[in-house]
Symmetry: D2
């Protein structure tokens, strides 16, 4: 493919060109450490900054800010670097927050040695997100936790206006 | 919130720290230009590199590679910077590809002066994506195009093995 | 097709054969009357039995039991006649309840002369429903009501055990 | 609840009252027999009428008409008894067809002794179904069949006009 990540953007339109230096850490050590912890302990360590944030969370400027059993809250700071081709923040930004919050909420219900895999995400986008939106807050809770599957739902809010931006549901496979 | 984008990662674990300089352009001029074009022409201009790629596409290393009326193919190069906390590429990466491909396929059906807004995405994740996966290919087609709504579906493939990684559907509001 | 509704069931296995006489009324007069009412008034008239129940509600033994602005509760009595080929009540029974409750909750937000069309339903089935389950209760609420679309969510409960059986979301087009 | 299945409809509006005598058989013997068969053999026996149709299929006048490995086609005859309160066939009718076809397509991939449980259905309704529609046809195929989950998609067509009426996806848990 023509690599969209390396066009000569700066040379073509220097006045409209922006850059961001993204710094992250190899995610493998944290994931390996996490596999040995109860999910609630792993999520708490991530939220407390005791483990490095996963790279995709760095790219999207999202992080867990509240963690309880079966419930996780994320916050995010969408910006211009998250824009789609039609002039707003990409729906994938909201999808990622909904997915992260539901998956992490399910994770908090797992004892050490158990794992989950996200099977589905159903996202609904109800108001546009722009670079003027500012902070967003995503609250997720587990609705069902069985031996083979778990389901949850999440809602994404505009922090300043307290308006709903998106909401969704997800299904996870429980692997024990 | 504690900003996850600016931890002192490099100081904490220099050996595991990676960086990427992301360069993009203000997406407003392209979006404004796009609003005056028929959707098919806009998508072709984006695929041909005649317009700068939207910023989120740069972050995710995704781009349209084939564009027809009611059908769009994207390719992507998932990498370590797209990892989630459990040791694989974040589901949001696949969601973004499915969403982009369906939305752009709907966009190709719009005459100049019309717009669309994505209402829903339903994503299914069937095989993990990792930094070893390499190139992925996402094929989307419109299944219904009415006066008020359009629907489509997309499938995401591992290019090397030709195995299905994810698939999904979406609904868009048509705004005329 | 071989019509599954008229096999010679009674002749083949008389001991296992059951019958139910279903009685309903032409739904057109009620729908026509409803189109002239505010949605909340129409739903209240249906819940109060002032209008005949829609035929599908008769077949499935479901009915609205609480109606408020943006919120509707249905109850249902699943039975053997709602069974699927694998020995439980068909998922379509729960889907119909979720869909009915979300659609009717959206309907309560419409002024007279407005209409809605259901675009999507995303249903999750978390516990089986059987002929031993007894009464079920489905609570729906509108989560977003805009000028062009509305979204809602619903949860289906086992009345006796208060356990969650299914849940889901839906999107409706608002037609004004 | 006020039982919606037994109002004094015939007495209230005799001119608008219709009845249908629904006849079905105890579904337990067929389900028990099915659990001992390979899924493909069970679905073929159902399609051939060698086993009594499940009761919900009788109520909805739906039946499998083509069965292959990973692919099933249903036909249905929606009628007035399937109407919702807003003057069309209930979305639950289409949801049930999509769900049946996807579930049965997954079932055809199971060896004897294995079972599945439907976890999710994502349905999209794109054109109304009425009592004038006539026969409908629902084609489903499995898109992914793994050891723990399977996914599929289905499309529902108006037989006379060959127009798409609804489409959807589903996820099933594989139980071995």
């Amino acid at each position: 493919m023509a690599n969209p990540a390396a066009p000569e953007l700066a040379e073509r339109s220097p006045g409209a060109t922006r850059t961001r230096l993204v710094t992250w850490q190899d995610p493998s050590p944290a994931a390996t450490a996490g596999a040995r912890l109860a999910g609630l302990d792993y999520m708490r360590a991530l939220a407390a900054g005791e483990l490095p944030p996963p790279p995709f969370a760095v790219l999207l400027r999202i992080a867990p800010v509240e963690v309880g059993e079966g419930r996780v809250v994320f916050e995010g700071e969408p910006g211009e670097e998250h824009y789609n081709p039609i002039g707003t923040v990409h729906g994938g930004y909201a999808s990622t927050l909904l997915d992260s919050a539901i998956g992490c909420a399910v994770h908090t219900t797992l004892p050490a040695g158990h794992a989950y895999a996200t099977q589905t995400l159903e996202a609904k986008f109800v108001r546009p997100i722009t670079r003027e939106t500012g902070a967003v807050r995503c609250e997720a809770q587990v609705l069902y936790r069985g031996g083979r599957q778990a389901t949850g739902e999440a809602r994404l809010w505009d922090v300043a206006s307290n308006q709903l931006l998106a909401h969704g549901t997800g299904t996870c496979l429980i692997i024990s």
